[in-house]
Amino acid sequence: MNQHPSQAKPKKSGGLYAETVIIHPRAVKGLYRNLKWWLMVLTLGFWHLAPFLRWDRGPGAPDQAILADLNGGRGYFFFIEIWPQEVYYLTGLLLFAAITLFFMSALAGRVWCGFLCWQTVYTDLFVLVERVVVGDRPARMNLVRRPWDLHKIAKTAIVHTLWLLISAACGISFTLFFGDAFQTLKEILTGQASLGTYSAIIVVGGFCYLLAGFAREQVCLYMCPYSRFQSSMLDEHSLIINYETWRGEPRGAIRKGQGFDGRGHCIDCRACVQACPTGIDIREGLQMACIGCGLCADACNTVMAKYGLPPNLISYDSITNVTAREKGGRGGITRLVRTRTVLYSLLLLVIGGAIALSLGTRRTTEANILHERTPLYVAQSDGSIRNGYTYKVLNMIRQDRSYRLKIAGLDGIRFSVVGGASGVGETELQVSGDEVGTFRLYVDVPEANVKGKKSAIFFELTELSEGRTLRSESIFAGPEK
């Protein structure tokens, strides 16, 4: 694997620390550039508009489509409402996302890095600001060399002000997912929001400014683990950025009127290097620092067109196709069905199916039983054995509901609810909408019917209007027999 330029050029003495080389990517036009613009609009559009999407959940419930209500302990995603104990859905989602990333890489290389990652998108946007305010690559390099005069101060100030505004917007959008967006935005802008909200904006916005304004490709090179293991995600059929050496070499500058016979198509104009946001030379082959954005391909295609040469000297294609072309073939469509792509698809199907199934069959009532351990059981004066339980009923819809509780499993069960019915075989429990009802229960069983140290008993909770019954198991402890 080749070295990044900042690494490849150590000082004469071979210093242990590499100077940071600021990269000023040159503007290019082309297919991949357009794709990147559109995806930027899409991703940033989602980020900034999604908190304002509404979703009617009825009276008393938040109407924000995507909301993480930390104080209320609820997560909302359109028609889905997640309670704290269901956070495992998030695990499922993360698994799904990770495998989607691998799947994408196996098919089309580092599309995440090159087009969708927020580091790439925000760096792209920050470079665009520089380009608009200062100018393209030469102008920006000139500005760096220029002494600190009024011109330089003014341009730099404008760039950083715009960067900070974008960063602030990024941080603000982050906080809007955690509270009613309209209300929170109003509070933020009028100075009424909480210290936590402002801190979140400063932390998220501050990192946006730092990472997209200054760290840029260093994030991909030194912080992100993905570039380090991407090679294990790829095979010869994955789409990657290729410099077609067989066609490009031997490279060399070209004078006007000179033909391309007996030499390569690469005119060594370095347009690909100057366009690269991570500052690499793709002609040295695929490397860790290549984020697969295709901007070098755009740059090269512009040059190829100028010289009337066929495009895609730098191509976004699979190694198989590049090799086929080298041997005189035409390449063609990448093989999509491979062991790894099939495996990834199956995994995605299984995980996605499991999440969908569990969401689809999700109960609106859950019950938790906690069997008292101190004391495990108590002998009563009438000779019966008593066990204590804390029984929690989670009413997960926004409607007060009544349940009928019956306890079965041993003969002669009688139970009492602290603050409610006493010595009954079944009773009604009321739980308010969107609440957890906590009941302390005492279950009495005549000693003759107790089956020793531990036996199973069942709490059968029937929702009265729907008639659905939830049966949960617990233990009944007694003296050894």
Binding site: Y17, A18, P375, V378, A379, Q380, G383, G419
Partner: protein, 287 residues
């Protein structure tokens, strides 16, 4: 030491270190990384100065910001207490019966009572009121020596049992069988009768029955149902404070043990005692 040179395979410089012919490639760390490292070192030094950091023989360095997590805890506890004041006021105004009827107040009292019980009561009565056999009564069952209503329990917690407080509950089991009160065989007959009571098969017509009616029924009542006003425990069940079985009964008859309980009204506020009463009442299901 070998010289630094360009490695022909990778095109990278070497560091000049060489071991048995193996040379180390120089992969320079980015400078910003080193700056971040030094910034962290500086931050740490600043932290030592500003915050409590180093142990000293007599304590620790306090730091210039005077930060103390213990002082913060104190403040938080005060704020908590202030936040609870409206509940405490409600608890103090309500009787234990009113608390038991109000669902929110009941839950609050149960939670608060549980904490107070853990701090003050569980040393003797055990976690969850499990009790200590032979020493401290179990509160989790339905036998209440001094009464199991909320008012009874509150009274017992407030003034205790057999202590110096004027309102304390007082009573003593008289010793039988030492001295001339009862002969040894009579003690045995009585114990047999009490055993028969506890298994709910009273031995009618036995000599023990007559002795029980004469000597014991004044306090323990006919049939051994007990008398809560006098703290005379029920004998008609298998719950024994000290020891069951014939030898246990004889031991308590001849050399009675008497437990005592402090008066909590001097140590706890009325609200806490009410919460405790509600909690203890809930432990055994209460009366």
């Amino acid at each position: 030491m070998a010289s630094m040179e360009k490695d022909s395979v990778s095109g990278q410089m070497t560091t000049g270190h060489e071991w048995d012919g193996i040379k180390e490639l120089n992969t320079p760390l980015p400078k910003w990384w080193v700056y971040v490292f030094w910034a962290c070192v500086l931050w740490a030094i600043g932290y030592w100065v500003a915050m409590p950091a180093w142990p000293t023989p007599s304590g620790y360095t306090q730091g210039m910001l005077n930060y103390s997590s213990r002082a913060n805890l104190d403040e938080e506890m005060k704020a908590q207490k202030a936040g609870r004041s409206q509940w405490v006021a409600k608890l103090q105004a309500a009787t234990a019966e009113e608390i038991a009827k109000d669902k929110t107040l009941l839950n609050y009292a149960l939670a608060g009572g549980k904490v107070a019980f853990g701090e003050n009561c569980s040393a003797c009565h055990g976690a969850g009121g499990v009790g200590v056999p032979g020493a401290y009564p179990r509160l989790a069952d339905d036998e209440w020596i001094w009464g199991g209503t909320l008012a009874d329990i509150e009274q017992t917690i407030k003034f205790g049992v057999r202590n110096a407080h004027p309102d304390s509950r007082q009573s003593e089991m008289l010793p039988f069988g030492t001295g001339d009160a009862l002969a040894a065989d009579q003690v045995s007959q009585l114990a047999d009768y009490v055993l028969s009571l506890s298994s709910k098969t009273p031995a009618a017509g036995s000599p023990g029955e007559a002795l029980f009616a004469e000597r014991c029924a004044a306090c323990h009542q006919e049939g051994g149902v007990g008398l809560k006003d006098l703290g005379a425990p029920a004998l008609n069940n298998n719950i024994w404070l000290y020891k069951g079985g014939k030898d246990g009964i004889i031991a308590q008859m001849t050399k009675p043990k008497h437990g005592s309980m402090p008066a909590w009204t001097e140590r706890l506020d009325a609200g806490t005692i009410k919460m405790l009463a509600v909690y203890v009442h809930s432990l055994g299901g209460g009366k």
